[in-house]
């Protein structure tokens, strides 16, 4: 039986080491590339940076309090219920992908044009959390640091 994730599930992330949430933005072959943040229920955090055929991974951990705060904040923002937005995008407008996984199974995945941040403060909040954690785990290499710079 496939479970339908809700925001309570996101809030309970620290209680479920098998559960993971993932936030991704960017295109591998364009500018800074694709940056994917994965936060697991165990507190393990991973940033995968794919750019022009190269891949680099960064790893970190959140302590119990940090993980609980993040899970609570994402649940409050409605991470599990933000709806996919199906509209034409401007050239170069990126897509934000939000997913929830348990083990190898993807429980939920939505794609939202990044411009929706202007109209939806919940998405803006999720992206702000993502950028802040990526910045911390990569020690300022990403999303706007040297690893994202033009060559």
């Amino acid at each position: 039986v496939t479970e339908t994730p809700d925001n309570d599930l996101v809030r309970r992330l620290p209680d479920d080491p098998e559960l993971a949430i993932e936030i991704s933005e960017g295109i591998e072959h364009w500018r800074a590339g694709e940056i994917t943040l994965t936060v697991e229920g165990s507190g393990a955090v991973q940033v995968r940076h794919r750019r022009a055929g190269e891949e680099r991974r960064y790893a970190g951990t959140l302590d119990e309090d940090e993980l609980a705060r993040l899970a609570g904040r994402l649940a409050e923002l409605g991470f599990a219920t933000l709806a996919a937005v199906d509209r034409d995008q401007e050239p170069d407008e990126l897509t934000v992908t939000l997913s929830i996984r348990r083990g190898g199974e993807e429980l939920r995945r939505v794609e939202i044009p990044s411009g929706e941040r202007d109209d939806d403060p919940r998405l803006a909040g999720v992206v702000a959390e993502y950028e802040s954690l990526v910045d911390r785990v990569t020690e300022h290499d990403l999303p706007y640091g040297p690893a994202a710079a033009a060559r």
Binding site: E28, H29, W30, R31, Q89, E90, D92, S114
Partner: protein
Amino acid sequence: MSERSREAAAPEQAERPAQLDAPTAETLAARLLTLQTTAGNRTVGRLLARAPTQVRINRPEPRTRGRFYSGTGRYEVDFTPLECMLTMRVRLVPDANVTQTEADAVKAETEREFLRMWDDKFYLDETVTGRIPFIDPAATSTDRFFLRVRVLWVASGQHVRVRLSRGPGRDNATRWYVTGSIGLDRAHELSHRLGLRDEYIDASVPRRRNATAAGVFDDHSLMGDYFTEGVANAEVKLRHAEQLAADISRATRRRFTAHYSGSYQGERLVRWRGIRDAAPAGSAERTRAEAEVSSIEQDLLIPMLSGAGTP
């Protein structure tokens, strides 16, 4: 009347021809006659009736699952003898937390980069038949217009409206950021408004889904992945100008072909020799760069000049 006051008065006089005194009208008539003699009746007629032509493009790019990247282009062109002036009127709308200094810096940087990429890089040829119908109706002649480009920052009547946020963020065609992007990004974004599509790999676009797809180019194109290929070597291509020529032809109901200008080919020759020399010996990149260098040299007649002993 001093030279300066005469210059200042000229536009007003031009707008109110009925008020011209006799000597001035005589001078204008004489100048018009001279122009007709040198440039021809048709050209003078065009000059007198001249109004910029608005070029409107709608070329959305299909993506997977029935989605699209929008493909709206807007600009205007105005022809004078020897020049086609392409004007893009941009209305930049800064967020409340963007300072005037920041907005001005973005404008200056964008304009500099857009002109560095586009201004005076190409010319448009128009071949016309039947200019001397009583002598040789089948005779053709070619007019040449150097493609000049300018950006006007306007508060209304814009071709393009762009929101400017403080950022950091990644620019797209209608949203720019003060931090997190570079001037070349905004030259890229304005080029979308010339009707050009992206040329980097995007798995969500069938014609750009991988490196061998028809819409992907890795030849240092401004519309490609210049972040990885090298910002310093990004350039606009003849295929881009050919797209402009086709769109301008459609809008003006005339027929233009696009060509590299000599000065741009000189600039490109230096750039491509640098790309060739920096590429590892024996690499595919070096072979391609060598071919590009040869092609530019052919266009500039360098082999022929060398053969004739000309330095």
